[in-house]
């Protein structure tokens, strides 16, 4: 635990000089995401620790290797939370990897994704230059938004060294309602309820049940609960359910299975994404678990499993591919940082 910026900087400068590919690794919990790559290991787990945390400013700044579980505990002491509810993967996930892989939990439609809480970050580019973008304040539009650009970039544009995140107060009250519903009925109900300005923080459908999580002030939650009806889930069971949703543990692909992710408009009909196993984000995210290894599903991301040397994120238009290659080059001219993790051509 500590500040390893200097070593990390030197390692990248050396890799730049020798054109050595590097493979960035935080808690190593996301090895199954993105494409399979090789390279000299660049370990971030020891570059960890909270740099600053001000509960009254609602901002925490931590080194990239800091574990999500540690942040959650620290914030809980002050009755605060990470707004985007990231998975902690058995306590091993790091905040740097979470940002790079853009990992968000069930509250995404209401409290935003990683980018919505991310205020700034430190980055070492492929030249080995240490840089800072954004900051610790709530609004900042000076310069291009290099900070948010990193969300989902899977480390291909730079090594994230530290992140500053906006935090929010814990909810004062909450509970979960369940409804016996088919996928079709659940999609309709979710659309309707999302329109009503209710204190909803999660809507997921799994195995014939729609789960609706209400969180907020006690009065607001109670009145919304009466309005919606349904069956109230015991609090322990609710906790276990939302934890499983967040950690992705309902749909762990076996070695001969592939897990596909669909992302789109929440009013998309059920039959557009056949064989959906789980619906999250009020219908905007759907998951399909297939037995077959190599049949790409049109418009879906090959999230986990299957051939990890394939273009798991699918194809993009030629002009955009060329643009992304130029952007990659602008950050990492020798292509040493997580080369090929996002796309084979990057």
């Amino acid at each position: 635990m500590g500040d390893l910026t200097v070593q990390l900087e030197q390692q990248i400068q050396h890799a730049y000089a020798t054109k050595t590919p590097l493979k960035i690794r935080g808690g190593n919990t996301k090895a199954s995401l993105g494409r399979e790559t090789s390279g000299e290991a660049m370990d971030m787990a020891d570059h960890s620790g909270v740099i600053s945390y001000s509960a009254t400013e609602l901002v925490v700044r931590a080194r990239a290797g800091t574990k999500i579980s540690l942040l959650n505990d620290l914030l809980a002491e002050q009755h605060q939370r990470l707004p985007f509810e990231p998975p902690s993967f058995a306590g091993e996930a790091t905040i740097g990897g979470t940002v790079a892989a853009n990992q968000t939990g069930a509250s995404r439609p209401w409290f935003g994704g990683v980018k919505d809480s991310l205020l700034g970050l430190g980055l070492i580019n492929g030249y080995g230059e240490v840089m800072q973008f954004g900051g610790q304040v709530m609004k900042n539009v000076a310069g291009f938004d290099v900070t948010r650009l990193q969300c989902g970039a899977m480390g291909s544009l730079g090594l994230i060294t530290d992140v500053s995140i906006k935090v929010l107060p814990e909810f004062k009250a909450g509970h979960t309602l369940t409804f016996d519903m088919t996928i079709e009925a659940a999609l309709e109900a979710m659309l309707k309820w999302a329109n009503l300005s209710l204190p909803i923080t999660g809507m997921s459908h799994f195995k014939g049940l729609l789960y609706v999580r209400l969180q907020g002030g006690a009065g607001g939650v109670a009145s919304a609960s009466t309005f919606l009806g349904g069956e109230k889930l015991a609090s322990k069971a609710a906790e276990i359910f939302w934890q499983a949703i967040r950690e992705g543990s309902f749909l762990q692909p076996r070695h001969d299975q592939t897990l596909w992710r669909w992302s789109g408009a929440s009013d998309t009909l059920a039959n557009t994404v056949p064989n959906t196993s789980l619906i999250n984000w009020a219908g905007a995210e759907r998951w399909v678990l297939t037995e077959a290894l190599d049949t790409p599903l049109e418009g879906l991301v090959q999230y986990q499993g299957g051939d990890r040397l394939a273009e798991v994120y699918g194809a993009i238009s030629a002009p955009q591919q060329a643009l992304q290659q130029r952007i990659k080059h602008a950050f990492d001219p020798h292509g040493i940082l997580n080369a090929g993790r996002l796309y084979a051509w990057m």
Binding site: M138, L149, P319
Partner: protein, 488 residues
């Protein structure tokens, strides 16, 4: 441009452009009347909301279709003609100020609301749609578009995307970047590109967020898909008056620290309160040194719960007068004073210069005290209006441009305020953008490596620097000249 402070900023394109060939090709693309060449015709476009910086363009084009936008960009690219996109021109950083040897691309005729999906709470709009027009169009569905700049009656969604604009409701609902799903843009080569998507998080690097706030330097936005929010069943506005700005600042920090995030939380100082009250007469307490305007929203139960806590917190921190709006009309009136604060200040001074620094909330008291010292030092009055919940300050520097040297003094004072914001851990701009205006402060906030990275990123989109050149990101040469100016 009147002032000399920005002198190092020379346009990068000094090569010879074949003007007549370019213009006649442009006239073939666009209908008669959509190409403006005369000085009188272009005069309305010579500046944005920061009127002290003015420049007539070579030619102004007002396309009506995306195809025309594409054709114009291709043509500019072919001829190496600089191109400045423009929405309504309400920007406050001279971002849309024309380029002397360039084309001004006015996008206000692309003003269609293409599609509203009230089920998914989304709307697809062209860039020239006015911010308020969108909220009005979706009101029948009980929806609204959350980012609401005070200029919302005029400013366009395209301009909002380009500046990452915010408004009084951004504390709870975020800036433009937090309310956007997808953008269609045209590259300088005339290529159409879609960033983001119908879903919430698309795989890969977040190019959509990069495009937001890029000030017309990376591409031209021709369509945006935005999120809409359901109107809360109950909205409650209240104002609280304080004897000192520090007490009001502390009340803000305490409220947020307690975990209460109002929909909006704004602050005005004495000068701003008086100016606003004189202008709109809504009954603000003109003897107060600071006024907080707070909006709570949600279900009845939620609002009642929060209202108690807010009043208690405000009183604890010394509010000597709390007024709770009884109905929607009174709430609107209380907001009106805040929303009209800029023009109100405009009435008490021949000119004013609006700053936009953001600071940590805990620094509000200190920074306001320093600003009043600076104000005395330069002999110029400063009114403070700001998004207190976010720590986003809008000091308004009052000056008279017709008095020799006052503009320069105002600029110097403004520059000092911005560097002060950086010194306390903040930024030179929270929502108005860098444009031409804040170029001198960019090397203060960023080091050489970051600036070089910005330039390489710019080159990945626009290697010939044709899109809005000379703005947003200073060149290496600019920084060197700026620094020698500072130290010389």
């Amino acid at each position: 441009m009147n002032s000399l402070l920005n002198a190092p900023n020379k346009p990068p394109h000094e090569g010879v452009i074949d003007v007549s060939t370019f213009v006649s090709a442009l006239q073939k693309i666009l209908p008669v009347g959509a190409v403006i060449l005369s000085k009188e015709g272009q005069r309305p476009f010579e500046c944005d909301g920061l009127t002290v910086y003015q420049q007539l363009p070579l030619v102004t084009a007002m396309p009506e279709t995306v195809d025309q936008v594409q054709a114009i960009l291709r043509l500019s690219h072919l001829h190496g003609v600089p191109l400045v996109p423009r929405g309504a021109g309400t920007g406050l950083c001279a971002g849309a100020m024309p380029h002397a040897e360039g084309l001004l691309l006015v996008l206000t005729k692309l003003n269609q609301i293409v599609h509203v999906n009230h089920k998914t709470c989304t709307a697809t709009v062209q860039p020239g749609v006015r911010n308020l027009a969108l909220t009005e169009a979706v009101a029948p569905f009980g929806l609204y578009y959350a980012p609401d700049p005070s200029s919302q009656i005029a400013c366009t969604i395209g301009g909002n995307v380009a500046e990452n604009s915010g408004g009084v409701h951004c504390l709870k609902y975020g800036l433009t970047v937090n309310n956007l799903l997808q953008v269609t843009m045209v590259t300088i080569e005339g290529e159409i590109m879609t960033l983001g998507g119908a879903g919430l998080d698309e795989p890969g690097m977040d190019l959509l967020s990069l495009m937001v706030g890029s000030e017309g330097l990376l591409g031209v936005v021709v369509e945006a898909k935005v999120k809409l929010l359901p109107r809360a069943p109950r909205v409650q506005v209240l104002v609280a008056a304080y004897d000192t700005v520090t007490a009001a600042g502390d009340a803000v920090a305490a409220l947020i620290g307690q975990g209460i995030i109002p929909a909006g939380l704004e602050m005005m100082d004495h000068l701003a309160i008086s100016a606003a009250e004189d202008f709109v007469k809504v009954g603000y307490p003109t003897d107060a040194q600071a006024l907080l305007i707070c909006e709570l929203d949600g279900t009845d139960a939620e609002v009642e719960e929060q209202l108690l806590l807010v009043c208690e917190c405000f009183k604890q921190h010394g509010a000597h007068h709390i007024r709770i709006a009884k109905d929607a009309a009174e709430a609107a009136a209380l907001w009106q004073g805040r929303k009209a604060a800029f023009p109100a200040v405009g009435r008490i001074s021949p000119d004013y210069y609006c700053m936009d620094g953001t600071i940590p909330r805990s620094q509000v008291g200190y920074v306001l005290t320093r600003i009043s010292e600076l104000s005395q030092f330069y002999g110029l009055r400063v009114a403070n209006v700001f998004h207190a919940g976010d720590g986003n300050l809008h000091p308004l520097i009052l000056f008279d441009a017709s008095i020799d040297g006052e503009l320069e003094q105002a600029e110097l004072l403004g520059g000092d305020i911005l560097t002060l914001c950086v010194d306390v851990g903040g930024t030179i701009t929270g929502e108005h953008g860098v444009g031409l205006e804040k170029m001198p402060q960019m090397p203060y906030q960023f080091g050489d490596a970051e600036l070089a990275q910005f330039r390489r990123l710019k080159a990945a989109f626009d290697s010939e620097e044709l899109l809005n050149p000379g703005k947003g990101i200073p060149t290496l040469k600019y920084c060197q000249e700026y620094r020698s100016l500072q130290h010389g």
